[in-house]
Symmetry: C2
Subunit: 315 residues, 2 copies
């Protein structure tokens, strides 16, 4: 995730201004940088056919997990997975990871072992190597992972490619990830690769901060708006569990963070190429990109509501 | 720095066991990994003539700096510099940086600006690009940087290449870095490049945890011992300022951390190729590599003392 605030309270208030401030100061000098700060990951030259993808993301105690309730194995797994999700968002595959760990006291053998096993579990599952890292003292536990991946030039996907008329799809189901999925989600590397090989996707990103927030980012990067059908948003069982009625569950699916699914857009003429499922993961069309820079949701009874980042006006 | 404990208290007790535990669990699968965990940085395939260098290092409030006494500009500069020092240690040049920042409260515009300016200052000075990053909430400020660099295959330097008889050199002066240098040091990228182009260096690393600790690491990686002349260790003015007498200053030069100079070894037949200075940085021969795995220091009156990591037996 490239220069991205991951805490809700500061994100909503300040993220856009922080990012614009960063972009003002940071000047990219090297023309090997294909994509700098602002997308899910950075993209730089690699070889004739492929780009190198570079990304970093961090999980911090009390912000992203509760240390007492969460096994270190799962915390380490999550720290890797959030980075894999960024690489999936670009259409890439992971190659190498570096892991920087802040531990609040001298680590026990079991602590270290649980963390390393969580990292290695993901490395085995997604065929990349953990090539180095760093351990430091820190009052609160954090695991900061940076990752290098690669993507064929022809398959690179950005947030900025959506065009009016393109259909909007999401993978999986959304909402209620705080119950469990935020720790155990499967980053959509395989699904992403399958989708981009079969479908000429015009824009893609991962849903880490909630569909409403992230779809607005995709639309802004593409210079467009969108119109989505609220009752078509695939609602997770956990979102239903939390709210117990459909309307509330939709709100969770729209606004909860940490789904780590993909949202992508497809030119309407290619819609038949989009499969219903990849592996067992459903792909659902939820609406379309529009020219006017408005972000709207249609409820099942035809009313139109404005979508805001992490919240939308009441039904 | 590859899987390296950066807090003194836990490092001394546990670092070697932690690293050996990590190495037991982590299995490198990809034969594109030339150097995995254990050296200053990881090295992976890049192109026909060059390797890619990957490294990460972190600075944490109250461990590496005092937030109230230290301007954010200098903290950010240090976070970059410790990574550049690792790239210098491999003989490489920096290409790209990712920056993960943990901030304890909603950042002010000035906070962000000071941090970004510190990062950008180093990026301009060493001609690399900051391509992305991450901001998250954290009680204690931390800045975790990961960096990609490159090195010509013929110039790659590891810790493990020293042979008995090789002479041991250090750049700059050592000790007393806590007064100021730990924040304002110049990573030895240019000096490293100049040295390896002029001299067939057999092993190299940076001195981040004190000469005694790091030279023992180099000797262990090379399967050798060493003998150094304590009165030849180049003592910094700050080490003299702290201890006020020569013997004490030598102890600081030997054992203080955060010098971020280079220690390297040269086959004795090439010693005439080693310049006295590079730019204005002195290169000083302090001893030699020996076959027997003992780490000894000779005092000016000819007595022999055993060198221990971060401490040695009394004169």
């Amino acid at each position: 995730m490239s220069f991205h605030l991951t805490d809700d309270r500061i994100r909503i208030m300040r993220e856009e201004e922080v990012i614009s401030q960063i972009k003002e100061i940071i000047k990219i000098k090297n023309n090997n940088v294909v994509v700098g700060p602002g997308d899910d990951a950075a993209v730089v030259s690699y070889n004739r056919k492929e780009y190198l993808i570079l990304t970093t993301d961090c999980v911090v105690e009390e912000v992203h997990f509760n240390r007492k309730k969460t096994p270190l194995f799962l915390i380490a797994r999550k720290a890797i997975s959030v980075n894999l999700s960024d690489i999936a968002a670009m259409g890439g595959v992971p190659l190498y990871a570096l892991v920087s760990i802040g531990l609040h006291k001298a680590p026990t053998q079991k602590d270290i072992s649980q963390i390393i096993k969580g990292l290695q579990y993901m490395a085995d599952r997604f065929s990349f190597d953990i090539v180095g890292g760093n351990l430091t003292k820190s009052d609160k536990l954090f695991i900061d992972v940076s990752m290098a991946g690669k993507v064929e030039k022809k398959y690179l996907k950005l947030r900025s490619g959506a065009k009016p008329g393109d259909l909007i799809y999401v993978t999986g189901t959304l909402g209620g990830s705080c119950l469990k999925k935020h720790l155990t989600f499967i980053p959509r590397i395989r699904e992403s690769r399958e989708i981009i090989k079969r479908v000429p996707v015009s824009a893609m990103m991962d849903i880490s901060d909630g569909l409403s927030t992230d779809l607005i980012r995709l639309a802004q990067a593409s210079g467009t708006g969108f119109k989505i059908h609220l009752d078509k948003i695939p609602v997770s069982n956990d979102a239903l569990k939390i709210s117990k009625e459909k309307e509330g569950a939709i709100q969770h699916a729209l606004n909860d963070g940490e789904d780590y699914e993909l949202v992508f857009t497809v030119p309407v003429k290619h819609k038949n190429k989009v499969p219903v499922k990849i592996n067992s993961v459903p792909l659902t069309c939820i609406g379309e990109i529009v020219k006017e820079k408005r972000y709207t949701g249609l409820s099942s009874d035809g009313r139109e509501v404005l979508i805001h980042p992490s919240g939308y006006s009441h039904f």
